[in-house]
């Protein structure tokens, strides 16, 4: 069985894109959550190996959601996935314990590389 990925993004595009991109790899989309609240309530049930977390979402944003998940599950491997790629966002994400950043637009190589780094702690 592949490593399980939880995709947290308000856009269904990201679910489709991630499914296409992970097809034939060691990863699979195990859960898709449309907002931060749903991700928080489903994390324990899904217990994914990796979470990809959009930053810009209606209601609770991705940084706040990641922070809450990490308070309950400090070993969670959360990668922030966003088009907001500038220094103070990266700093904020790192401070709350995110394991990395994937910038949109991305390709398969970038995503798999970020997953490996997050899982191996490099």
């Amino acid at each position: 069985m592949g490593k399980r990925v939880m995709v947290v993004d308000d856009s269904r595009i990201m679910e489709l894109q991630m499914e296409n991109l992970l097809r034939g790899t060691d990863y699979e989309v195990a859960a898709y959550c449309r907002n931060g609240q749903e991700a928080i309530s489903r994390y324990e049930e899904v217990m994914p190996d990796i979470v990809t977390m959009d930053i810009l979402m209606p209601g609770m944003d991705g940084l706040e959601t990641a922070q809450i998940i990490l308070e309950g599950f400090p070993d969670a491997k959360i990668l922030m996935l966003s088009s907001l790629a500038y220094d103070d966002t990266i700093q904020e994400a790192t401070q709350i314990g995110a394991k990395g950043f994937i910038y949109k637009p991305f390709d398969q190589e970038q995503v798999l590389d970020a997953f490996e780094k997050a899982l191996n702690g490099t």
Binding site: D10, S11, R12, I13, M14, L16, L56, M57, P58, S82, S83, L84, A85, Y86, D87, D88, T89, Y103, K104, P105
Partner: protein, 154 residues
């Protein structure tokens, strides 16, 4: 954002971001040009906040938005909802590139809101058009990037 960078610099950032994102995501070439005004079009809009207080719209002819969506989805047939979802995602990526470029130039961080989709044109409340840049696609379809500033910002 007008207060952060000169209009000329902002225009250049917008133009470069639109051309590179459209090419990378959809394989479609945009070049600066003068399309016929407001043929059958749709618009995606977002507002910038935190150091910017401005708005930003991407408007494009429907035939172009359909082609953009088909290319992104790699499918021949697309639905209205697909076009809406993909254009919102397109603007999201485009704004990210713009914000990153502005940060690189001016060291000012900006955030933007969740993109909204409109059929036809859209005129945001309490904003006025500051400037626009227009493009023609590789099939001569029109597209416009429109920058708005808040009415109370001088």
């Amino acid at each position: 954002m007008d207060a952060i960078l000169s209009q000329e610099k902002l225009r250049r950032i917008y133009e470069e971001a639109a051309c590179s994102v459209t090419k990378k995501l959809m394989g479609i070439t945009l070049r600066p040009g003068k399309p016929l005004p407001d043929r059958n079009a749709c618009t995606v809009y977002t507002s910038f906040a935190r150091g910017a207080h401005s708005g930003f719209a991407f408007r494009a002819e429907k035939s172009l938005t359909e082609r953009m969506t088909r290319n992104m989805m790699r499918m021949e047939q697309v639905q209205e909802q697909d076009i809406e979802d993909y254009l919102r995602e397109y603007l999201n990526v485009l704004c990210g590139q713009i914000v990153a470029a502005v940060f690189k130039e001016a060291k000012v961080g900006t955030r933007f809101g969740i993109p909204e989709f409109y059929n036809g044109s859209y005129y945001p409340e309490n904003m006025e058009k500051s400037w626009e840049v227009s493009f023609l696609s590789d099939q001569n379809e029109g597209a416009w990037l429109i920058h708005y500033k808040a009415l109370n910002v001088k």
